[in-house]
C-alpha cells in the first residue's frame, strides 16, 4: 500500500521537478498551453483530494477489518445496503462532475473559439511522412522542418495561426510548451494558434503514429523577436543565389533525381514531394530534426537516408563518391 502513496508522490515530483525538460507540459510558454496548465492544476487538486479520501477509507478498511487471529469463526453482521449512503455517494460525485465539466467547457471555449485578432502571422503546416512543410502565404515563402514565429507580447499580442493539413496520413502537431496537440488529417483541415511569450527554441514531435519514422518526425519552433523574425522572412523570400564554385553540384541536382522531389527556388528544381531546400543552410538540422546540419551528416544523409532514418521515403540516389561530394558542396551553398 505504501507503494501507492510513494508512487503517486513520485509522479507529482517527477513532473514538477523537471523544469529542465524542454517538453514539460507543466512549463507553459504560450496562452493555450497556459490555459490547459491552469485547468490541469485545478483538476489535479480535486482528483488528488478524492484519491486521498478514498485511499484512506480503503486503507482503513483493509487494516481495521482484517480477520483476527483468534476468531470464533462466526460471521460478521450482514448488512445489505443503505439507500441514504447510496444517495450520498451518487450526489456528491455528480456535483464534482458538474464543477469539473463547467471549468473544462470554459477552457475549451477559450482556446478553441478564440477570435483571431488583427495582425496575426498565418502559417500553413503540411505534414508529410516524415517531415513538416511550412508555408507563409502572407510572405510568399515556403520553409521546412523549422518553424519560425515572432514572440508575442501579452500586452500587444501577435499570435501565430497555424492551418494544419496533411499530404498523406494522419499526423499530430505537438509542442507541449506552446499548445496542446492538434491532428493533421488528410482531407480534414484543422487550425490551432500559439502566442509564445518568450523567445527561444521550443521542441516537440509528431504525436500520431504515421508510419515507420513517426519517432523522428521532430518539431522545432524558433520564437524570435520581431526584428529577427522579419530578417528571417526577408532572407527566406530570396531565391537561391547561383554560386559558380558549386556549379558542378548544381548541375547534378537537376540531372540526377533530386529535383523531382525537392524545390530550390531560382533553379529548375521544383519538386513538391520533399522539403524545400532553397535556404537549407539557414536551418540547424536535417531530416526533420534528426541530426545537426554538418557536412559530414549531409554526406551520410544523401548517400543513404536510412543511416539516420531507416524507412524514410527519400531513396538513396545512385551517385559516385565524387558526385556525392559535389552535390553536398552545392547544398552547403544554399544559405
Amino acid at each position: 500500500m505504501l507503494i501507492f502513496v510513494v508512487s503517486m508522490a513520485e509522479s507529482g515530483l517527477g513532473a514538477a521537478g523537471n523544469p529542465a525538460s524542454p517538453t514539460n507540459i507543466f512549463a507553459p510558454k504560450s496562452t493555450p498551453a497556459h490555459s490547459i496548465y491552469q485547468l490541469s492544476i485545478f483538476e489535479l487538486e480535486v482528483l488528488g483530494t478524492i484519491f486521498v479520501v478514498v485511499f484512506s477509507l480503503l486503507a482503513y478498511a483493509v487494516i481495521r477489518f482484517r480477520e483476527q487471529k483468534h476468531e470464533d469463526g462466526s460471521e460478521p453482521p450482514q448488512i445489505y445496503g443503505s439507500n441514504q449512503m447510496e444517495l450520498a455517494w451518487t450526489v456528491l460525485p455528480v456535483l464534482i462532475v458538474v464543477v469539473l465539466f463547467l471549468s473544462t467547457a470554459q477552457v475549451i471555449h477559450r482556446v478553441q473559439d478564440a477570435r483571431e485578432p488583427q495582425g496575426t502571422i498565418e502559417v500553413t503546416a503540411v505534414a508529410h511522412q516524415f517531415w513538416w512543410e511550412y508555408r507563409y502565404p502572407q510572405f510568399g515563402l515556403v520553409a521546412a522542418n523549422e518553424l519560425h514565429v515572432p514572440v508575442s507580447d501579452p500586452a500587444h499580442p501577435t499570435p501565430t495561426y497555424i492551418h494544419l493539413l496533411s499530404a498523406d496520413v494522419d499526423h499530430s502537431f505537438w509542442v507541449p510548451q506552446l499548445a496542446g496537440k492538434t491532428d493533421l488529417i488528410p482531407n480534414h483541415p484543422n487550425n490551432m494558434w500559439i502566442d509564445p511569450h518568450e523567445t527561444g527554441l521550443f521542441v516537440g514531435q509528431c504525436a500520431q503514429y504515421c508510419g515507420t519514422q513517426h519517432a523522428k518526425m521532430l518539431l522545432r519552433v524558433y520564437v524570435e523577436n520581431r526584428e529577427d523574425f522579419d530578417r528571417w522572412v526577408h532572407a527566406q523570400q530570396q531565391q537561391a543565389a547561383a554560386n559558380p564554385s558549386a556549379a558542378a553540384g548544381a548541375a547534378l541536382f537537376v540531372s540526377k533525381a533530386c529535383f523531382a522531389c525537392h524545390t530550390i527556388r531560382g533553379t529548375m528544381a521544383a519538386g513538391p514531394a520533399g522539403p524545400d531546400l532553397t535556404h537549407l543552410m539557414s536551418r540547424e538540422t536535417i531530416a526533420s530534426g534528426a541530426v545537426p546540419i554538418t557536412r559530414e551528416n549531409l554526406l551520410k544523409w544523401v548517400r543513404n537516408p536510412d543511416t539516420f532514418k531507416p524507412g524514410s521515403l527519400m531513396p538513396a540516389p545512385d551517385l559516385t563518391p565524387q558526385e556525392l561530394g559535389q552535390i553536398v558542396d552545392y547544398l552547403m551553398t544554399l544559405d
Binding site: A20, E86, W89, V97, P176, T182, N187, H188, Q205, P310
Partner: protein
C-alpha cells in the same frame, strides 16, 4: 519421408481425448479452452512487451529496427485486447455463468463452440502473417498499422502487401466469434436460470455478464462493418477511407472508437463481476447495495455507448462536440464511483481474509481507483490535448488493463481454480506471485506516466536524450523483469497445483453461490438435481437455516 513401412500403432485413449475436446459443446470445456488459449497468447503478448521495453530502456537504442518495433506494438495491442483479455473473460464467463444460475449448459452449446473456434482461428490467422514472409507479401511480415489502424495508413498506397489484411481479417473472424458469444450470454442469462432465480436474485456475476454480452452485440458490429469497408477500399476500389478520392479518415476513427470505447467496458465489466463475487466471500458479508450495483452496471453499459469521441479530442471537433463528449465521459465516473464505494462498504465491518484472491482484488481496487482518476484527467478535453497519445495514455490504459483487468483475472484464477480442477492453488506461491507482480507493475506503469507529462509520445521506436525521459523509461523496463518473473511463478503454480495441489472439496472458500454446491470439478451435467433458490445467496441460506437471506431481500 519414411520409405519403409512403419507399423502404425494407434493408441485409442489420447486421440479420444483430443476428439472429445475438439468436438465438445460443454460450456466448461469450452470455457477452459478459451482460458488456455488466452494464456498462450498472454505469454506471446508479454514477450512482445519485453522486447519493446528493452528497446526503450535508454535513448537512441538500436536493439530493434523501427519496422520491427512498429509490428511489435501492433501485435502487442491487437493480441492483448482481442486474443488475451476477451477470450479469457469469455472463458470464465462460459465456465461460471451456467453454474451460477443453476443451468446445465449455455443456451446454444453449438454456437458456443463455434464462437470459440472462430476466435481461436482469428488469433492464429493474425500470427500466420509472421510466416507470410517478406518475399511473398513484399511488404514485410505482420501488420504495422497500430491496433486502431487509423485510415489512411491502412490504404494500399501506404500499406502495400498483405500485412494489413491479416490484421483486418483476423479481427473480422474473432469478431464473429465474439458476437456468437455475446448472443449466448444474453440468451443464457435471460432464459436458463433455475427455479426461484429471478433477475433480482441473480449473482452480480451473471448480471454483469449480461451487460457485457449486450455490449458485445452493439459494439463489435461497427468494427466488423468498418473492416468490411476497409476490405472494399483495398480490393474493390471503394473510397470510404480513401482521402485522396474524397473519403474520410475521421469516419474510420468514429467507427473504430464507437467499437473501441465500449470494448473497454466489455473487458472491465466481467472484472467488476469477479470482484463483486470475491470481495463479499473474503469479507464474509453480503454485497452492499446489490440494486445499486445492478443499476450502476447497466447505466455504465448505456453511457459507454455515448463517449467514444473522447478518443478524438485532438482530431479537430467543434468546441460544443468536444464539450459534449467531456460531459458524457465524466458522467461515467458517477456509476463507477458507486461501485467502488459499494465494494468498500462490503469490506467495512467484515472479517477480511487475505487469501490470494482477496489480495488481487484489493490490488484491483487501488489500481482501478487511480486508473479511473487518470481517466477523468484524460476526459478533460484541454488536458487531453496535452496528454492524448502520450505515454500518459499508455500508462493510464495499462493501469486499467493490467492493474485492473489482469489483477482481477488473477484473482479469478486463484478463486475458481479449485472449482475447475478440484485442487487448491498453492498459497505461498500465490503470495509471491502477488507481491512480485504488484511491485513490478508499479515500477513500470507508475513511471510511464511521467515521460508522458514530459512530452513523450507513444509508438516511438526511440527517443532523444535530454528530455527527462530516460530514467523513467529505464525504471519501467526494470519493472517488466519483475512482472515476467511473477508470471513464471503463476504459470508454475497453475501446473504444479493442477497436478498435485491439495484437494479442494466442493466449497473451499465457504462461499454462497451455486457453483460451490456441486462437486469440483463439476460433472458434465453440473447439478444432479436442478437447484431451487430463494435468495441471492442460496448457500448462505443452506448454511444458516435459522437466519436466511430470503428474510431480508
Amino acid at each position: 519421408m519414411a520409405s519403409e513401412a512403419v507399423p502404425l500403432t494407434i493408441r485409442q485413449n489420447p486421440l479420444a481425448v483430443v476428439y472429445e475436446w475438439l468436438g465438445t459443446c460443454d460450456h466448461k470445456k469450452i470455457g477452459l479452452m478459451y482460458i488456455v488459449y488466452a494464456l498462450l497468447f498472454f505469454v506471446v503478448t508479454g514477450w512482445e512487451a519485453v522486447l519493446m521495453r528493452i528497446q526503450l530502456a535508454h535513448a537512441n537504442s538500436t536493439f530493434l529496427s523501427p519496422q520491427l518495433f512498429d509490428r511489435l506494438f501492433t501485435l502487442h495491442g491487437t493480441t492483448g485486447v482481442f486474443f488475451v483479455a476477451m477470450p479469457i473473460l469469455f472463458g470464465f464467463g462460459n465456465y461460471l455463468v451456467p453454474l451460477m444460475i443453476g443451468a446445465r449448459d449455455m443456451a446454444y452449446p453449438r454456437l458456443n463452440a463455434f464462437g470459440f473456434w472462430m476466435t481461436a482461428f482469428g488469433g492464429l490467422f493474425l500470427y500466420a502473417s509472421l510466416f507470410a514472409g517478406d518475399s511473398v507479401a513484399k511488404a514485410g511480415i505482420a501488420p504495422d498499422v497500430g491496433w486502431f489502424a487509423y485510415a489512411p495508413l491502412t490504404a494500399v498506397a501506404f500499406s502495400p502487401g498483405h500485412s494489413t489484411d491479416y490484421w483486418n481479417l483476423s479481427l473480422l473472424l474473432a469478431g464473429v466469434g465474439s458476437i456468437a458469444g455475446g448472443v449466448n450470454f444474453v440468451a443464457t442469462i435471460l432464459s436458463m436460470r433455475c427455479p426461484g432465480m429471478t433477475l433480482g436474485r441473480m449473482p452480480l456475476l451473471a448480471w454483469m455478464n449480461l451487460v457485457m454480452g449486450g455490449l458485445v452485440l452493439v459494439t463489435i458490429s461497427p468494427l466488423t462493418a468498418a473492416q468490411l469497408m476497409l476490405m472494399a477500399d483495398r480490393y474493390l476500389g471503394a473510397h470510404f477511407f480513401d482521402t485522396q478520392a474524397g473519403g474520410s479518415a475521421v469516419l474510420w476513427m468514429h467507427f473504430f472508437w464507437i467499437f473501441g470505447h465500449p470494448e473497454v467496458y466489455v473487458l472491465i465489466i466481467p472484472c467488476f463481476a469477479f470482484i463483486s463475487e470475491i470481495i463479499p466471500v473474503f469479507s464474509r458479508k453480503a454485497i452492499f447495495g446489490y440494486p445499486a450495483m445492478v443499476a450502476a452496471t447497466t447505466s455504465i453499459g448505456f453511457v459507454s455507448l455515448g463517449v467514444w469521441a473522447h478518443h478524438m479530442f485532438t482530431v479537430g471537433m467543434p468546441s460544443y462536440g468536444n464539450a459534449f463528449f467531456v460531459l458524457t465521459t465524466m458522467v461515467v465516473a458517477v456509476p463507477t464511483g458507486i461501485k467502488i464505494f459499494n465494494w468498500l462498504a462490503t469490506m467495512w465491518g467484515g472479517k477480511i481474509r487475505f487469501a490470494t484472491p482477496m489480495l488481487f482484488a484489493v490490488g484491483f481496487l487501488f489500481q482501478f481507483l487511480i486508473g479511473g482518476l487518470t481517466g477523468i484527467m484524460l476526459a478533460t478535453a484541454p488536458f487531453d490535448w496535452q496528454l492524448g497519445n502520450s505515454y500518459f495514455v499508455v500508462a493510464h490504459f495499462h493501469y486499467v488493463i493490467v492493474g485492473g483487468i489482469l489483477f482481477s483475472i488473477f484473482a479469478a484464477f486463484y478463486y475458481w481454480f479449485p472449482k475447475m480442477t478440484g485442487r487448491m492453488m498453492d498459497e505461498t506461491l500465490g503470495q509471491w506471485h502477488f507481491w512480485m507482480f504488484l511491485i513490478g507493475f508499479h515500477l513500470t506503469f507508475d513511471s510511464l506516466h511521467i515521460p508522458g507529462l514530459l512530452g513523450m509520445p507513444r509508438r516511438v521506436y526511440t527517443y532523444e536524450a535530454g528530455r527527462g525521459w530516460e530514467s523513467w523509461n529505464m525504471i519501467a523496463s526494470v519493472g517488466v523483469i519483475l512482472q515476467g518473473a511473477a508470471v513464471l511463478v503463476f504459470v508454475y503454480n497453475l501446473i504444479r497445483s493442477g497436478v498435485r495441489g491439495r484437494p479442494a472439496g466442493n466449497d473451499p472458500w465457504d462461499a454462497w453461490t451455486l457453483e460451490w454446491a456441486t462437486t469440483s470439478p463439476p460433472p458434465e451435467y453440473n447439478f444432479a438435481a436442478v437447484p431451487v433458490v430463494e435468495s441471492r445467496r442460496p448457500l448462505w441460506d443452506v448454511k444458516h437455516p435459522d437466519d436466511p437471506d430470503s428474510k431480508y431481500e
